[in-house]
């Protein structure tokens, strides 16, 4: 039996269970339409302004960094799988197996150091925060 069938079956179950719960709830729950309770929740105040607010640039920086490092982990996975077997087979020396990975990680560490130095992994502060912290006794 192809094992991906079972994974597909679990995906189906993972969708059917939420749908089943939704339909049970649909049969049980009341519906009392009233416009004011559908208002956006802002701690009981009348909502002000739109929701698509401008948010901190840091989220974007972090996401960009993630893409780089995530691809890197994907590239490291095959290496990690064959590493021990390759060494035990005696066909390659330790440096031949380890060297390229060390070089690869070193390049990324340089990248991280660059990002670190440029403040990409430092949470961006507003001018007011910077001022407050400078004046703190």
């Amino acid at each position: 039996m192809n094992e991906w069938i079972a994974i597909g079956a679990l995906a189906l179950v993972g969708i059917l269970i939420p749908l089943g719960m939704m339909s049970v709830s649909y049969l049980l729950r009341p519906s009392v339409p009233e416009t004011s309770k559908r208002a956006t929740y802002e701690s009981g105040e009348v909502p002000t302004g739109g929701t698509r607010i401008r948010f901190n640039i840091q989220y974007y920086m972090v996401a960009l960094l993630f893409v780089v490092f995530d691809i890197e982990t994907v590239l490291l996975f095959p290496w990690a799988v064959v590493y021990r077997d390759a060494l035990e087979s005696g066909e390659v020396t330790l440096m031949q197996a380890l060297g390229p990975m060390l070089l690869f990680v070193a390049i990324l560490v340089v990248g991280l150091a660059w990002a670190w130095r440029n403040g990409a992994v430092q949470w961006a502060k507003s001018p007011r925060q910077v001022e407050l912290e400078a004046n703190r006794p």
């Binding site: 039996m1 094992e3 991906w4 069938i5 079972a6 994974i7 079956a9 679990l10 995906a11 179950v13 993972g14 269970i17 939420p18 749908l19 719960m21 939704m22 709830s25 049980l28 729950r29 009341p30 519906s31 009392v32 416009t35 309770k37 559908r38 956006t40 929740y41 802002e42 701690s43 929701t51 698509r52 607010i53 948010f55 840091q58 989220y59 972090v62 996401a63 960094l65 993630f66 995530d70 982990t73 490291l76 996975f77 990690a80 799988v81 590493y83 021990r84 077997d85 060494l87 087979s89 330790l94 380890l98 990975m101 060390l102 991280l112 990002a115 670190w116 992994v121 430092q122 949470w123």
Partner: protein, 357 residues
């Protein structure tokens, strides 16, 4: 000699079901039905565990930590609160905010709950309960557990609520920051085991590490590489968004984060997804660090469930004992601390394995 990539000698749960019910005589159709039955059993086992954990165990554990009694009125030890809560939550009115983006708002709970469920497909639960055992097992778990981030961002963005938007963004910033330490630390286990296949990783941990007074201590990777174990637990806590890394839904800051506008069954589904994620994290820790379902006397699945609940207990312990980090601390711990430590662990593990191999 490189290890063969295929070892199709594991007797998987769908095949057991097929042989047990006689469905194997019906060819592909029988296989499909057997796979569905097996998946249904596994899915409901996990659902039952979250059912016990969410309304009952979480309250009882937190109460024990804070010297309270918590639920004790309905049924023995208050256990029937599970039924009462399920009925109560499902029969609530479903209030949908007026500015919500409808398809995304409705799909997000399904994505969150469904993606968490998918990861359990490759986890060996002992006593022959393992749905599938592909060669890429570990990579598969990391891949599907990442889908939940999309669900959280959908929930946060589609709710048209400022708290939700911030919560969704925080959830993603946190998930991406700790995903890499998590995967890289998991990879240091792969270096030892030489395979991504879950059954191979579990088998590799069955060998005795040393014998103390006639008792063989198994070579669990938590004992071989405790540093990676601690790193993995920390990264996993952040990945499932539990204390001290629960800022995506920090109640004192942004109400409930991405689930602020969700009510009724949608809320149940998001909550369910979060608990499934805690258990998936626990299952992953149990499988790659604690020898999977291995253990003396009791059957495998009991040990597996004990290990999962131990991890759950740990998350609840942190919930009661550790203060929340701030968003700037979170990013700095993730990118400057965990990432560097994870790579140091990875390189050191590679060097040590290289020297002893």
């Amino acid at each position: 000699m490189l290890a063969p990539l295929q070892n199709g000698d594991t007797y998987l749960f769908p095949e057991r079901i097929a042989d047990l019910t006689g469905l194997s005589e019906y060819g592909t159709a029988g296989d499909l039905v057997a796979a569905f039955i097996a998946a249904f059993i596994v899915g409901n086992l996990m659902l039952a565990m979250t059912g016990v954990a969410g309304p009952w165990a979480k309250r009882k554990i937190t109460a024990a930590f804070t010297d309270r009694i918590a639920v004790n009125r309905i049924g023995p030890f208050g256990l029937l609160i599970i039924v009462a809560d399920a009925v109560r939550l499902l029969s609530k009115e479903n209030i949908i905010p007026e500015n919500a983006d409808r398809p995304a708002y409705d799909l997000a709970p399904i994505v969150v709950a469904g993606s968490a469920m998918l990861g359990f497909a490759v986890i060996p639960m002992g006593s022959g309960v393992q749905l599938a055992d592909p060669e890429v097992g570990l990579a598969y778990v990391f891949a599907v557990s990442g889908i939940a981030s999309i669900g959280l961002v959908m929930a946060g963005y589609a709710s048209a609520n400022k708290y939700s938007l911030l919560g969704g963004l925080r959830a993603v910033a946190q998930n991406v920051a700790y995903e890499i330490p998590l995967v890289v630390t998991g990879m240091s286990v792969v270096i030892f085991a030489g395979s991504l296949q879950m059954s191979t990783i579990v088998e590799a941990q069955a060998e005795p590490l040393l014998t103390v007074a006639g008792v063989a201590i198994p070579s669990w990777y938590a004992l071989i590489n405790p540093f990676a174990f601690v790193l993995f637990i920390m990264a996993n806590l952040a990945e499932v968004g539990r204390n001290p890394f629960d800022i995506p839904e920090a109640p004192t800051e942004i109400v409930a984060g991405y689930q602020t506008e969700y009510s009724s069954v949608y809320f149940v589904l998001i909550y369910l997804g979060e608990f499934l994620h805690i258990f998936l994290g626990g299952a992953l820790i149990a499988t790659i660090f604690l020898g999977g379902p291995a253990g003396p006397v009791l059957p495998g699945i009991v040990w597996f469930i004990i290990k999962i609940w131990a991890v759950f207990l740990l998350t609840q312990w942190f919930r009661s004992a550790v203060p929340r980090v701030r968003i700037d601390q979170l990013i700095e711990i993730g990118w400057k601390g965990m990432l560097v430590l994870a790579f140091a662990n990875f390189v050191l593990t590679a060097i040590i394995v290289g020297l002893i191999a």
